[in-house]
Chain length 233, copies 2
Amino acid sequence: MSTPGRGLHGHVLDTLGPAITAGEYPPGSVLRTDELAQRFDVSRSVMREAVRVLESMHLVASRRRVGVTVLPQSEWNVYDPQVIRWRLAGADRPRQLRSLTVLRSAVEPAAAGLAAKHATPEQCSELTECALGMVANSRGHRLEEYLFHDVAFHRVILNASGNEMFARLGDVVAEVLAGRTHHEVMFEDPDPAAVTLHVQVAEAVREGDAERAERLTREITVGALHELDILAP
Amino acid sequence: MSTPGRGLHGHVLDTLGPAITAGEYPPGSVLRTDELAQRFDVSRSVMREAVRVLESMHLVASRRRVGVTVLPQSEWNVYDPQVIRWRLAGADRPRQLRSLTVLRSAVEPAAAGLAAKHATPEQCSELTECALGMVANSRGHRLEEYLFHDVAFHRVILNASGNEMFARLGDVVAEVLAGRTHHEVMFEDPDPAAVTLHVQVAEAVREGDAERAERLTREITVGALHELDILAP
DNA sequence: GGATCCAAAAAGTCAGACTTATATGTCACA
DNA sequence: TGTGACATATAAGTCTGACTTTTTGGATCC
């Protein structure tokens, strides 16, 4: 997916991270560095590096004479892309998808409004191109092609907002959209209404109509939330 | 502030992190682990742990035969609380405050709307208490006391939304509010209109009026944005 | 000029010895 | 019986030095 096999400590993280975020070790569980090092067949130095990374994500806390304690979910850095990926790969994927979708529905309309004010001509073109790509692939079960343009569309909006915090949510949105296509029930072609809305958002941004861009994007995200309610009520 | 002196590698991070986020090492700069270890007078193992943490924040990338490369700002995990703190402590604090305030103005109204639906009686009480605390300290230059209740108020809203992603922005909001009080020009007492709005939001949440809670909270955040425009146009 | 090979450089890994903080149990004393 | 001081064991933290692996850049050769 992202950066696989960036050393031994990376391999350890790929195993330990998902295990912790999946709740395999309940909060308060204590792990010992030496034992983990043995289990993963790596040296203590490598294991320590892995623990440091988990610590920086606030998944664990390391204390002398105690060990490596697993922290409660409320402490986790849930905005860390790595943590998001681990959790989306795990058991409570539905819960995770929902909370991310709620976040989207707060952020994306605001981003679209700003994009209408700040988008460069290039970004406007890209946006139109993405919307057209969505239209072109909205029928005939071309789900992957549709997804590709959908993700690109939302990335452009977030980037064009000019706000760094918004822009960095591009990966999150991509994960959510991909998750919807790949894991949820999706036999049918995308909702034609949603496709139209994307085209209209591109229009509004091009015309600099912030209010309209925001309102239309809100309709898109409300639709996404509604979809979740239908699939997992 | 948070977890000072959690070992030697923590001290290294406290120096290197702010230096990198402050742009002291331009993107593409190459550092060598051994040299850094010497500079900070720590062993290579400790230095490696620090580098691993910076790497997990996507501030740097470590490659064999090359060294530790500083990544461009666009790669940074800007939602990492540690990174946020480092950047707020640095030179582009104003920019950072602005982008965080824009984020707030997208998220908090939505959170308030959800809070109106999901807040427990306890949370409603807390909210009212906070609002009253703000009123009580809104005059006579009791800025610290006012800030305390203001932060608590917004934390309760975010938590009561029931959305984990929103809830985890409590620390960010706290930093922004604290930053405004401590570093921006703020001779005068808080805007009475803002105080009233907080009281009204507490009311709306208590009454379960989501639409009103959202609208009032939007007014608060619009005010915060407007304030920034006046101070740093 | 281009493909191939070589050597240096820096990160990566490992093993072992030592240090330090601290939770916990022990024991004396009240 | 409870309480405080003290000893001890434990696990993280640190350091060092040797070795491995990957990769870059240049030298060499065709």
